[in-house]
């Protein structure tokens, strides 16, 4: 039995040209391949237009892909269809804490709805599970009665994580899940995610533009640019001793102690 929970080979995604004037279309993802070990955390790093988000969405089944193969848990997945990965295989936490919930639905009811569809638990059991999940993410059971608008961004994101964990998925895809949070709250959620991984066997796929966050949360990472993988390896190696020019440029551009902003780091002088 393979150690890998996920194996992706030669993924390619082209978005159709939207207007007659455009040529063949946009190649968002080009020949991307990687493996993810069960229970590990893979970081996907890149700037805008790198294809990191599209890659994650295709794996999640939110987008289709015409070329490439995907194996999850040893089973082949048909990437030409959406939403066929299975709710207990794969779940996602989105970037926007505000849009992640139906504004008219209480948090507890939202999680309960998932449990009602995805499990055979009766009402009492579901209620108990909702309370458990909320506590697991650092909220109170009483938060189940709150509407999303009464929670802060950090609380909403915790609730989103609770919802994503409700059906006990094997893989959790986090799409810029901490990018919209204040720095002090971001740290709380990163610690929470580390705790969850420690306590369960879950696997993370973490998409982010923030290199320090990737360093914190992932064991291995891939660096993407213009739809291709530029560099991959253990996160420590890639970020401490980058081999590729682009990765070095990215690292040089991150504000940190002693950093000075520099010109000529982006793609070309007047083109960015």
């Amino acid at each position: 039995m393979s150690e890998n929970i996920l194996e992706l080979r030669n993924l390619r995604k082209v978005f159709a040209a939207r207007s007659a004037g455009m040529s063949a279309g946009i190649v968002a993802v080009d020949d991307v391949s990687f493996d993810v070990v069960r229970g590990s955390s893979l970081g996907i790093v890149g700037e805008s237009g790198s294809g990191k988000k599209t890659t994650a969405r295709i794996i999640a089944g939110l987008e289709t892909a015409a070329a490439g193969t995907l194996d999850i848990g040893g089973e082949s997945v048909d990437m030409s269809r959406r939403f066929n990965r299975g709710p207990s295989t794969l779940q996602m936490v989105f970037q926007d804490p505000f849009g992640s919930f139906d504004p008219r639905q209480r948090i507890g009811a939202a999680i309960d709805e998932l449990l009602r569809i995805g499990t055979r638990l009766d009402r009492t059991a579901r209620r108990a599970r909702v309370a458990d999940l909320l506590e697991q993410v650092g909220l109170n059971a009483s938060h189940a009665e709150e509407l999303p608008r009464n929670l802060s961004g950090g609380q909403r994101q915790r609730a989103a994580i609770a919802r994503a964990l409700a059906l006990r998925p094997r893989i959790l895809i986090l799409d810029e899940a901490v990018s919209a949070l204040d720095v002090s709250v971001q740290a709380q959620v990163l610690n929470l995610l580390a705790d969850i991984r420690r306590d369960t066997e879950i696997t993370y796929l973490f998409v982010s533009h923030d290199l320090a966050v990737i360093r914190q949360i992932s064991d291995r990472c891939i660096v993407m640019q213009a739809g291709r993988i530029v560099e991959q390896g253990t996160t420590a190696e890639v970020l401490t001793d980058p081999q590729e020019e682009y990765t070095k440029r990215l690292l040089d551009a991150v504000p940190r102690p002693g950093w000075k902003p520099g010109r000529g780091l982006a793609h070309n002088g007047s083109g960015t």
């Binding site: 089944g61 939403f83 139906d102």
Partner: protein
Amino acid sequence: MTAVPVSGVRLARISTAARRIDPILATAGVVCALLVLLAIAGPWIAPFPPNQTDVLAASQGPSATHLLGTDSIGRDILSRLLAGARLSFLGPGIIVVLSTTLGTLFGIACAWWGGFVDSMLTKAFNVLFAIPGILMALVAAAVFGAGFWAAVLSLSLVYVPYVARVIRSAALQERRRPYVEACQLAGMSGLRICSRHVFGNVQPVVVAQATVGFGSALMDFGAASFLGIGVQPPQAEWGLMVSDGRTELLNGALQQSLSAGALIVLSVVAFNVLGERLSDRTGAGR
């Protein structure tokens, strides 16, 4: 340290959630409620039976017994107005219920499925947009015979695309929110997502649209009756009364046409204002 308010030279303004009571909205709401009440209770508070004729008392001006006078065959105008409210509101009511229901269904379907379904339905709507309501009512009258149902059904059909268009864009907006994808990932069926989540969040738009539609339907239905292709005599209905009163207009007796016409105008304005204010709120509330 001085306490001079810098706000004296304000320019930018933070838009606040529309929670304040809007006096115009409230007034329109009250008027609409009263009119609906009238439609329900009309015949019971009418002094005379609306169809009771009294040829001897025909074409009288306002008097103590007949507050608004009588029409050409001696029926009390006030009573006919009060009783007529029923049909004048029932017709548009059914039109709105039918068109809003169908329009909402189609609108959400377009937004949810997109692609082929969306383009086919949109083309169908474009065809319907090109047909004025009255024209459709005329065709219906010609084919099925003039009457209440011919007018109601034909107008309902013509109103569907207006509702569908507005609901479609509201539903599209809703569909793009991340929680919809979260529901899909959880294995929720499209039907459940649309009925419980999408519909729930576009509901305010539906209500606003229905209210505006009611105002338009009042106009069109009244116009159909006026033209003789809607409600038929001897029934009491405002549009019909405007038409009946035409001969008296030539004699200088305005009561019938004017009072019926004024009620139509009042109703249309009240419902349109209410609908538009509700629309603004749902737009701003996002």
